[in-house]
Structure formats: C-alpha cells, structure tokens
Amino acid sequence: MSIAIEVDNVQKTFRGKREVRALDGVSFAVTEGTVFGLLGPNGSGKTTAVRVLTTILRPDGGSAHVLGNDVTKKSALVRSLIGLAGQYAAVDENLTGRENLQMVGKLNHLPSSFVATRAIELLDQFNLTDAGDRPLKTYSGGMRRRLDLAAALVARPTVLFLDEPTTGLDPQSRNDLWEVIERLVGGGTTVLLTTQYLEEADRLASTLAVIDHGKVIAEGTPQSMKANFGATVLEVSLPTIDDAQRTGAILDGLGSHASVVNGTQVEVTVDNGPQVAMAALRNLDADGIAPQTFNLREPSLDDVFLSLTGHRTEVEEADEDDNLTPRQKRKKKRLADLEKALPIQTGEYA
C-alpha cells in the first residue's frame, strides 16, 4: 500500500500581536484509500495542517507531500488532485446549488458537458435535486454542508480533505453526512478528516492522530486509542466532598485506570462499563455511600485528552479575541451559536 499524504515535521507560526505556533513539528502519513482522522480541540492546529496540505498556506519548515508531490513546489499539480470541504461551507450564497457546482467544475477546467452531467449526478447523490435550482439562501445548514462536500467532489479528487465536516450540524444531518463519507471511502478515495468529535473519528477513520498545541501527541487505530483510555466513563456525584474521596478510593480498585475526584464529582474510565458499575454500586452500598447521580457515558475527546496529557482541552478566553483571525472568530461565533442551540453537543469542547 502506498502513501497518499505525507507530512514531515511541518512548522507554521502566525505572527501577529501574539505569536502562535500553530504547527510545531507535525508528522504523519496517510495510506492510500483510507480515512485518516486528525482529532483535536479548537486551536490545536488541525485546520492549519489542512491549509498547508491544500496549498493555501506555506509552511515555515518541514515538508508535506500529496501523492508524492511537494505541496509548495508542485502546488498547481496538487490542487488538481485534491478536493477540500471546510467547516465554513464555502459555497456562494447568491448562486443556486447547481450553479455552485458548475462554477467549481469550470474553475477545475473540466469540459462544460462533463460539468453539467456531474452536477446532476452530485445533486442526486447528495439529495439536493429538488433544491438544485434554488438559491442557497433557502438552504438549511445541513444542505449547505452537503453542497459544500459535493463541490469538493466535482473533479473526482483522488485525495479529499474534510475540515470538521459536521461541526455545527444537528445530529440527523451529521448522520446523513457520515453515510455519504462512508460511501466515498468505499469508492477508494483517500480522506483526511479533522474533527473535534471522538465519535465521528471512531465511526469514519481507520487511523487517528490526536493533535494538541500543533503537535501529534498520539497515533493509532480508534480501537487502540480506546483500549488506552477505556471504552466507557463512569461518572458519580456525591452529596459531600468526603463521600467523593471515599468513592474515588473504591473506584480505584475496580478499573484499570485511576479515578479523578473533582469536588463532589468522581470520574473513572473503565473497559467494561456495566460490570464495573454493578460492582461500584455494591461497594458503595456496603460502605453506606448514597450517590446523587450515577452515569455511564461514551468517552469524549476531553476524556482522551485527560488520559493522554493529564489536562482537559483548553477553553479560549474572551480577552484573547483580539488575537484571533477572522477565521477563528467565525468559528468561535459558530460554536457559541451552536452551544445555545445544542447544549449537550459542544459545551465541553468549545
């Protein structure tokens, strides 16, 4: 199997009021025909990595190759081989869906007859045939994302970059998009996907790299990652801090991982949720401890981080807004809007 994307010690620093080392020596490789997930919180360098690989941004150091072509020296060739769909749904508001696809096709220098057929084909595949001749103003968020992805596929790229394809989408649209991406991979396209959602990476990617502060801090299959920090998280809240300490000690003896006590909250990552939960309840009852809440949940990116780095994903402070680029501000606003709409989805990542 050959390598489709190779990133070797790539560095990129943004100079502004405050220097930001967006990429601090990132290296990874993506095998042809597979989905590679770049997982990390906001501001970890995921988008910068995608922008370097799609020739939008020149790296300060290191090298990046797409299908063996250096992205800085053979950028024109690289651009003809790739497709990019971003989290901003970069489609033209004033055009219809079909016009958007045709414009991208023409800018790819494809023959108009091919572009016209391809637009029909893609509108159909992405369930947009009915909306194809309506201006984008009438599209929902999910429809825009689908069109954005369709636009990235007009020229049948060999390598596809998906920068947070489902950030900001409702669960139903997210599921729809996941199905589309899965079909794409079945067709043999190499995909590099960035995401903040462990669930998304787990579902779509065969290999994962976790990125934080512009560095790859862990790499492997989703299975091996999960094995490293447990498959489930057990969360218990107690009436008093003293109870929490005692619960922590009890849970320590049950799982393969150490528990984390935070005030009256106790958390532990475990491999076999239900068994540990039953044992925990028995032991707590025996010690006369009555929990206020007792939950088993899927691990989040936050849990991966906690387990890998010992710290939680960092939350950007409001006073740092001045240093943000317009891109980051948009992203932040989108996440903030999203948080209002879907408090459960993003609260801990934003």
């Binding site: 020739t55 941004l57 033209d92 004033n94 201006p135 049948r156 079909r183």
Partner: protein, 281 residues
C-alpha cells in the same frame, strides 16, 4: 451502484504546464468569476437599484435645487453637472470592488478558490471586470436620466462615447485600489466604511459640482489637478466642449492628464493588489 459512481475514474482535474494554457485558463477563469459576480448582482436587484437611486437624487438636487445659485459661464449648469455626476457615480461604483472582495474573504469562498487549480489572478480580475460591467450599466442609466433633465452633449456621439470610455477606464483603475482596501478590511461593512472617506473628499473637493474658481485660492490647486477633477474636466471637454471647464485648457490637455492618472493607478495598484491577495491568509 452508488459506490461505483463515486469512485474516481478521472484522476483529478487537468493541470497546466505551458504558458499559453495558463493564459487561456486565466481568461476562462476570469470569465467564470465575472459571470458569477454579475449573477450575484442580478440576484440582489435591490442593491443595484439603490446604488443608482443615490446619483439620481444628486442629479435632481443639483439640477433643480442648488444649480440656480452656481454660475458656470458659457454652458448651462445641467451640461456642467452631468460629467461630474458620471465620475462621481462610477467612483462610488468602484467601491463595490472592496465590498465584494471583503465579503468573499469573510464567507470563505476565496479559501475554496485557493485550493482549486484555477488561475491565481482570476479572483481579482473577475471582480474588477464585473464591477466594470456594473459601471457600464449604471452609466447608461445616468445618461438617460441626464437626457431627461435637459443634458445636451454638444460635441457629437463619438466624442461623447470617448468621454464615457475615459471615465469607465478611470473607474476600472480605481477598482484595483479598492481591491486592496477590500483585501485589508476585516469584513465587508468595514470595507465600505473604509472606502468612503477616500472617495468623499475627492468627489466634492473637485470640479464635479461647482467651478473650482469659486473655492478659496489655497484649495484651487488641489481641486483642479487631483485625479477626479482631471477626469471630470476631460469628460466635460469631450461632451460639452473645452470652454465648459472654465480653465482655458484644451480637451487634449485634460484627456492626456486623465489617461496618465488611469495608467499610473493601474501600474501601481495592480501589483500591490495581487501581492496583498497572495499574502492575505
């Protein structure tokens, strides 16, 4: 089967190696984007409508309210006024270059363009060309309005068209300057606000509405020879005769000066705008 149709059968888009292919693609990409930008204008007809309402109000205001108090010597005020209105209108029209580019940057469309195998220069060329076409449309409307309120070009059709050509060229050169403004602004609203203080003084401290001779002497030098005034005087000479400028200069004098400004602006601002586009991340 769905997977079969999604499979890459063509290995990506064609990519260029030769100079002629590059040139061909620059032209075709520019046309594609010009069309896209003009489609946007037709999709928001209100914007175009209101951008012509303002100059029409200026025509009516100066023709019927202020005009009586302004003395323009050998020509009726309406003939003096219209060339000034033309230049004012196209100058405000070229501000839309800054707004359009700032909007494309803000919405992330330019990000998509950068990752496509298209010509690098097409984004700026397509934008400035579309704004030129838009200005042609606006000038036609203003000509009709002018004729309705009594504007009577006296130098013949060819000379009139030469005047129109001159101001459109001048506006095209201004578009490249406003491209830089648009590429430097954080968003489209700011781009518009940033452009206004640049256009406003050049439009009003000029020969557009009143003869420069009525201004204080320290202002006259600037008001006569700044690029807007030079183009207004050239346009006025071509449309209603050199005597209308009240400067004693010939038509050729003003036309040469205006063309020199246009060419100078293009030589300076095209490379600067392209550089700004390349470095803007």
């Amino acid at each position: 089967m769905t997977t079969a149709t999604l499979a890459p059968t063509v290995s990506g888009a064609p990519h260029s190696t030769g100079v002629f292919t590059n040139l061909k693609w620059l032209v075709s990409d520019t046309l594609t984007l010009t069309k896209r930008n003009l489609l946007a204008v037709t999709r928001i007809p209100e914007a175009l409508f209101f951008s012509t309402v303002q100059p029409i109000m200026f025509v009516l205001l100066f023709r019927y309210v202020f005009g009586g108090a302004i003395h323009t010597g050998p020509v009726p005020y309406v003939d003096y006024l219209l060339p000034g209105i033309f230049v004012q209108t196209v100058a405000f029209g070229s501000v839309s270059t800054s707004i359009g580019l700032a909007e494309d940057l803000q919405k992330g469309i330019i990000e998509r363009f950068r990752a496509l195998p298209m010509s690098r220069g097409a984004v700026l060329l397509g934008r400035t060309t579309a704004d030129l076409v838009r200005n042609v449309f606006v000038v036609i409307i203003m000509t009709v309005v002018g004729l309705l309120v009594g504007f009577r070009p006296s130098e013949g059709f060819a000379s009139f068209m030469a005047g129109i050509g001159l101001i459109l060229l001048f506006a095209y050169a201004l578009s490249w300057f406003f491209a830089i403004v648009g590429l430097s602004a954080p968003n489209s609203e700011t781009a518009q606000v940033m452009s206004f203080p640049l256009v406003f003084p050049l439009t009003f401290i000029s020969a557009a509405f009143v003869p420069v001779g009525s201004m204080p002497s320290w202002l006259q030098g600037f008001a006569t020879y700044q690029p807007f005034s030079v183009t207004i005087s050239a346009c006025r000479s071509l449309m209603v005769g050199a005597a209308s400028t009240g400067t004693g200069r010939s038509t050729t004098f003003w036309v040469v000066q205006s063309l020199a400004w246009t060419i100078g602006l293009l030589i300076i601002f095209i490379p600067l705008a392209i550089r700004r586009y390349r470095t803007r991340t």
